[in-house]
Amino acid sequence: MTDYQTHDHDVLVIGAGGAGLRAAIEAAASGVSVGLVCKSLLGKAHTVMAEGGVAAALANVDDRDNWRVHFADTMRGGQYVNNWRMAELHAREAPERVRELEAWGALFDRTDDGRILQRNFGGHRYPRLAHVGDRTGLEMIRTLQDHGVHQGIDVHMEVTILSLLMDGDRVAGAFGYDRERGRFRLFRAKAVVLATGGIGRAYSITSNSWEYTGDGHALAYHAGAALQDMEFVQFHPTGMVWPPSVRGILVTEGVRGEGGVLKNREGRRFMFDDIPENYRSQTADTPEEGWSYTQGDKNARRPPELLTRDHVARCIVREVREGRGSPHGGVYLDIAWIKERLPKAAEHIRRKLPSMYHQFKQLADIDITTTPMEVGPTTHYIMGGIRVDGDTQMSTVPGLYAAGECAAGLHGANRLGGNSLSDLLVFGKRAGEFAAKFAKEAHDTRIDAGQLEETAAIALEPFSRNGSPGEGPFQVQQDLQTMMQDLVGIVRTDSEMQRALEGIGKLGDRARRAGVQGNREYNPGWHTALDLPNLLTISEAITRSAIERKESRGGHFRDDYQDKDPAFGINVLVRKGAGGEMQLSREAIPALPPELKQIIEEMK
């Protein structure tokens, strides 16, 4: 018999980033008992790293903004494979969710008349991102955390969930272990909200932390839920490239929002060379106009550096491939040049982008107020994820909800900057609300002891394999990351992805043999071994979905199908088949209601 501690909650929220915290707060407010688990300490989730801001059509800086424009921008950015209901709700509700943060103590930067200040970001027609310098995520997670701790939520920190427990086809709880002592924990719950974030650790160059091993995606998949559009991975155009130890660390888009420009080694602003047709009417013709835009000129159009991330990332890859890159395989991002336009530019940069200044100074010995940064694409975000109902955030499994980065739909084929933090708030709240409602109406569930024993036994297996230091879980993880980066990265082709599938199979065998040393107490080797199966599952889902989508759209670019194909205006779904094999299908997107269609037409 496995030894474990049992916890009972009406609603269990897995993940304590913005989405999980917001869901827990909402569920607790409706009177049900709530448990919140996370792999790290409270307040350390990815959300804390978000820099640029949270998108909401508050119209504080430009009064032409409203939810309809935000909706149209989100759909255009997502290349129209978004869940339009989510895009609508998100645009309508984001302003209220942001104001609510202020009522809970958040202090956003201010406009001259004392309201919340908003900044420009790629793909947003008007200045829309509420922010605090370049540490918006910290402000957000701290506000939610400090509000949440007074709501009677039971927080279980440094606990990793290994599997979801089922009662028939309904979710009944979750099983995991505490990282500190390695003891098993059973969480019984009537409803479960997944808010586990992304998958960046499947790639070698990433802005994401060790936590991002796609756990929520894998948990949902094994519980029978459908995943959607897993091929849409966002490669952020600007990650650090040098020195090697910081490769992948994010350089916020805020740098470009404040006037930073991209140049190749010849000093050319190459972004002017390739402006996509559907953005031409919104893009500046001259550097002069672009600069005016960043300085708040309402009649100017945005510089091409602020085109959507997928496009900017591909332009950078092109420059590097064609031999016009910087010494370490990136391009230059220059904010120092604004000294030609602004008095006290150095001070201005330090005030607007304090953590970028700090980051380059300390990690790369570069003073961004005088010297251009070297940047290149980094794996940043996954648009695809757990398929959910737009209104309630329930997955295809009854009682199982998903919100935030691990859920799919809002962003379609490409996410606009700032739309994630607002996503967390809007759909975190909704998931919490509907999970609580479900829990109130639900019968008690039964836990299947066999399922639990099996999970525990598998989890302890790595200890019984005598691991050799040469082939531990870390080596397998690294090889997977390198392979995914090379074969299922920014530019994809069928043959390479077929090789990746083979590779995933072999890595799976190696993962099943990799042993760990030491005991169960805070043992990163063991933790990594337990994360590996999730990484392998989602890598396979990404690869198979990417093979299935034979076109290029948003974050998914196929060298062998370079154009967008209207026949692929659909969602690609992944489900676990009866024999345990991965099954793919194509799902038509319901037709847009006339009101929404009209908005899109008007704003074309």
């Binding site: 350390k44 989730a45 202090l107 910290l138 402000e139 400090d146 090697p244 130890s245 953590s355 990690l363």
Partner: protein
């Protein structure tokens, strides 16, 4: 356009770049030894590991390399690797530091580099300590309570100039390095009667928040033990976010306590004029 700003010579060749980094601090490339504390709540010892050092590495990279190649079970916390999450706090050569922001070229690699867990908190394993006390302290501090909204749409108006100070405090990444270095906690173990610099900063952020209407002065004196702080400023010296903990947060709080409890006139004035 600003092509000159690009400094074409810098953009030019890898050779130039080598020169550029040589002109910075001395880059060591080679091997270095790390003397890492290994153990748990029952005790432990320093263990030497030698590993490859390459350009730009930070202490956390070295620890990860050792973990991947030599000691898979070496316990360490981290998340962002960019000084944003406050997970990787440790004592490097005896100094409380974020490992991810401590460059190896700032250390003397001729000697072994010691890496130990924060000493003001109970050991869990290796570099991981039990910081749960901090989370219970925060819960005891009275929550934010805003005044009624200023505008009919439920929003408030605040000038940027009036929130700068509080924004400074809100930069805190909860790394607890200040808690680690404060002698009241580290040497005198006053965890029951003193909340420590991190939470004095937190109280200050609430007290100086333009919208807040709560009063936390009585607790500051009693339960939070602000009087224990004797302004050594060690906390300010280690804060990776450069928060001026002592001068900007603790001293003003001490003054408020004095006003409230020992200066009846100031108190009366405040009663008449509202909180501040």
């Amino acid at each position: 356009m600003a092509v000159e700003a690009l400094k074409p010579d810098f953009a030019d060749t890898g050779e130039q770049l080598e020169k550029q980094s040589a002109s910075h601090k001395q880059e060591q490339v080679g091997r270095a030894t790390f003397r890492v504390w290994r153990g748990d709540s029952t005790g432990g010892k320093l263990v030497d590991y030698t590993t490859q050092v390459t350009e730009g590495m930070v202490v956390l990279d070295a620890i990860h390399q050792i973990q991947a190649d030599q000691a898979n079970d070496l316990a360490v916390r981290w998340n962002c690797k960019a000084g944003k999450c406050g997970s990787c706090s440790a004592e490097v050569n005896g100094n409380p530091r974020l490992m991810c922001m401590t460059r190896l070229n700032d250390l003397n690699l001729e000697e072994p580099v010691t890496v130990e867990p924060m000493r003001a908190f109970p050991a869990v394993r290796d570099l991981v300590t039990d910081v749960s006390w901090n989370f219970t302290v925060k819960k005891r501090i009275k929550r934010f309570k805003p005044r009624p909204p200023d505008a009919p749409d439920g929003t408030w108006r605040m000038a940027q100039a009036d929130i700068g100070r509080v924004q400074e405090f809100r930069k805190c990444i909860e790394c607890y390095l200040c808690q680690d270095v404060c002698h009241v906690l580290r040497d005198h173990h006053k965890h029951d009667s003193f909340i420590g610099p991190r939470f004095l900063v937190y109280v200050a952020a609430l007290e100086m928040h333009p919208l807040d209407t709560e009063n936390r002065i009585a607790e500051l004196k009693e339960a939070h033990g602000v009087g224990y702080c004797n302004i050594t400023k060690c906390c300010t010296a280690v804060c990776p976010e450069n928060i001026t903990i002592t001068d900007n947060a603790i001293i003003p709080l001490k003054e408020r306590v004095v006003d409230e409890f020992f200066d009846p006139i100031a108190r009366l004035v405040r009663l008449v004029r509202g909180k501040r």
